[in-house]
């Protein structure tokens, strides 16, 4: 059927009188794999009667198939290539805009990494424990964190773990700083919400590797902002969603009371909506942090330092022990991050406990 002279869908172009526009039905450019295979196949026997075989192997009128009938139709390979070319065309202008905008991200990541690695371990450990105490007010939690960090120090994974932690810290912080206002805007406008939901869905469902591809083209692989952006795009979704949800869930009568006593929009937001949405916002922050951790491991493919690098080494060099040890470190980090943010969340919940009557 894929004979070099007759293409299945010739009739369309002949029928529509487009033969002229198509030009000669000659293949230009390199051959596709299908062409090569077809060349090897024996030409089909002339058939008489109804051609079941032809129907059986009737190809879908795809780009490649139509191209055979008409050279003007691009092949799907041309499509992907033109996507690439299009991206490369706008790349310079995109860079021109995005580069300065995201430069602070690189800067923040570099500094955080620098501080995390160069502060003496005992000072860092103390600072961490103080933060944990402030967030959770629980001695058991401080003990857990101390034990985990002690273990990581003991097995010489401390520096990697601190790199991972500092990246998470910077990215999650930026997620909150950008995500909460977006969530607030969504809660205020139904139209903006309708606009954002597909975007958020897309960010959440795109396979994580797909983020990396355009970013690699846009920035050089050595720049920290490359993985910073990938992590933020992936992890910002829950904090936006839960801020929006939390504000929308605030008891309608309480909002009415705020309005009945003449609060401005701003007073309402600061005094009523955000405090009452805080448990939900904190749940979003917890998820954001956990998702940053997941992404920071993948981001080591594009030069993010930390435990992910060890995992990658384990895969590349088939060093099972290295990979497993790093994996354990990641699990431990996940546990303490989750516990600490949940403890903070529980405290917020207790403070803003909304009694239902």
């Amino acid at each position: 059927m894929q004979g070099a002279t007759v293409a299945t869908y010739d009739f369309i172009f002949n029928g529509l009188g487009l033969r002229e526009w198509c030009g000669e039905s000659v293949r230009s450019g390199p051959m596709t794999m299908a062409d090569l295979l077809a060349r090897g196949a024996a030409p089909a026997e002339p058939q008489t009667g109804f051609d079941w075989g032809a129907l059986w192997s009737l190809p879908f009128p795809s780009l490649d198939e139509l191209h055979k009938a008409c050279a003007e139709i691009p092949r799907s390979r041309d499509l992907t290539r033109s996507l690439e070319a299009g991206f490369l065309n706008v790349r310079e202008s995109l860079r021109f805009v995005l580069d300065p905008m995201t430069q602070p991200l690189s800067w923040a990541l570099e500094n955080a990494l620098h501080v995390a690695v160069n502060t003496p371990w005992w000072l860092m450990l103390m600072a961490l424990l103080v933060v944990v105490w402030l967030a959770g007010r629980s001695a058991a939690l401080v003990g857990l964190v101390a034990a985990v960090m002690g273990f990581l120090l003991f097995v010489d994974h401390y520096v990697f773990a601190m790199q991972t932690l500092s990246i998470i810290f910077v990215c999650a912080f930026l997620c909150v700083v950008m995500g909460v206002p977006v969530g607030i805007a969504m809660s205020r406008s139904n139209r903006f919400q309708r606009l954002m939901i597909p975007v958020l869905d897309m960010l959440q469902t795109l396979p994580t590797f797909v983020y990396l591809i355009p970013l690699i083209f846009l920035f050089s692989v050595t720049e920290p902002k490359l993985y910073g952006i990938a992590i933020i795009l992936y992890a910002i979704v829950p904090v936006i969603r839960l801020t929006d949800l939390g504000i929308r869930l605030v008891d309608k009568e309480v909002i009415e009371a705020a309005e009945a006593f003449g609060m401005t929009r701003h007073q309402k937001l600061i005094r009523v909506q955000i405090p009452l949405a805080l448990p939900n916002i904190m749940a979003g922050v917890n998820q954001t942090i956990m998702m940053s951790l997941a992404m920071v491991v993948i981001a080591s493919l594009v030069s993010a330092p930390g435990l992910g690098v060890l995992v990658l080494r384990g895969i590349r060099n088939l060093e099972l022990g290295v990979g497993l040890m790093a994996g354990l470190g990641i699990v431990l980090l996940a546990v303490i991050l989750d516990r600490v943010t949940k403890a903070a969340l529980a405290r917020v919940n207790a403070a803003a406990s909304v009694a239902r009557h």
Binding site: E256, A260, L276
Partner: protein, 364 residues
């Protein structure tokens, strides 16, 4: 009562909930009722052609069964709900024309509200909740703390200022809501079932507090209730709502004696009339012959007190005094007749201004 100025006037107010209220309004104006509007057009009739004058210094009580539109009506007065059609005049100005800033000023300075479900801020202490109106106006806590504590004590919750709302019982939360409205010190108070969660004793106490305040402060109060005893005790003007329409409004005694709708007859059938009706409502202002009187009674005395005075003797008559002037005569027989809850025309010595309408609802 006396001719006081109209403080809040509601004119031809309609409210329809649904996707296209303006279209549904045409059906309502053409006479479609609440149930039919729901069945045929999938819209909820909230309010229909409401006209009420509320006088400054009066307590206007709005009564009706659950779902009759009471909360919807009171929320229009401070525009928590926008009407589908109509006007709301506060001190002569149509507040529907107010921009955001003027509306906010109105809510801050002129009105306070008690909510049916309390609507306290759960993350703030009782004291902060009570001072809400004042702090929204920009006053600092030191400026309103004394007032707040005063009203907290006045509603019987002295010493609870440091608690959080969820640490209080429903009735206590409701009283915090009342104290919040009182601390705001606004001349107009909107009270949506403000006493519904209170036990009978505290409830009576709060009713007395409200009446006491009225003699002192002369606020304009809109009070929603579905308790007839409460309504009769508090109301200067009583409005009865049914399915979003006003069935009858006027002086409470008047409504009690001349209910114009079977719905109201049902409503008032269980009431202790002797305790609620007053001499002035059943006395004869100008009898043909001046009867032999056994004594004098006050014009505002309840019939119950007159019965006690007479010792149950139905042959007696009394002269009715307002201060020092005799304003009419009360015959015990007409008193007894007034105690019978009936919708049939009464044959008492009181003049029948117009015949009772037959048992037909308003444009049902």
């Amino acid at each position: 009562m006396m001719d006081r100025q109209v403080s809040i006037a509601i004119r031809h107010l309609y409210k329809i909930f649904g996707a296209n209220p303006v279209r549904a309004l045409e059906h309502v104006r053409a006479g479609t009722g609440k149930d039919a509007l729901m069945a045929q057009h999938r819209h909820v009739l909230g309010l229909r052609d409401i006209n009420i004058d509320m006088r400054a210094g009066d307590i206007t009580v709005v009564m009706g069964l659950s779902g009759s539109g009471k909360s919807t009506l009171i929320r229009h007065v401070n525009r928590l709900i926008e009407p589908t059609a109509g006007e709301i005049l506060v001190n002569g100005e149509n507040i529907l024309e107010f921009g955001e800033t003027r509306l906010r000023e109105l809510r801050r300075k002129q009105m306070s509200m008690v909510f049916q479900h309390f609507a306290l801020l759960p993350h703030r202490t009782v004291l902060d909740n009570i001072g809400l109106a004042r702090s929204v106006r920009g006053e600092r806590r030191a400026d309103f703390e004394r007032d707040a504590l005063h009203w907290l004590a006045r509603v019987g919750l002295g010493g609870q200022e440091g608690q959080y709302p969820h640490q209080l019982s429903g009735g206590m939360q409701q009283r915090v809501g009342i104290a919040r409205a009182l601390t705001s010190n606004a001349p107009i108070m909107l009270m949506d079932e403000a006493f519904s969660a209170l036990d009978p004793l505290i409830r009576t106490d709060m009713q007395d507090l409200l009446l006491e305040l009225q003699t002192e402060l002369q606020k304009t109060i809109i009070f929603i209730s579905h308790d007839l005893d409460e309504a009769l005790k508090l109301a200067d003007h009583l409005v009865i709502l049914k399915d979003g329409s006003v069935v009858q409004q006027g002086e409470p005694q008047e409504i009690l004696l001349k209910p114009n709708d079977p719905y109201i007859v049902d409503f008032i059938s269980d009431i202790n009339r002797a305790r609620v009706l007053r001499v002035r409502s059943v006395m004869d202002r100008a009898p043909e012959t001046i009867p032999q009187v056994a004594g004098t009674v006050d014009v505002d005395a309840t019939l119950e007190s007159v019965i006690a005075l007479s010792g149950g003797d139905t042959a007696l008559s009394y002269a009715v005094r307002n201060r020092d002037t005799t304003v009419g005569y009360l015959n015990m027989q007409s008193l007894v007749r007034a105690l019978v809850p009936t919708q049939a025309p009464r044959h008492g010595n009181r003049k029948q201004e117009k015949a009772q309408p037959a048992a037909s609802g308003p444009a049902a």
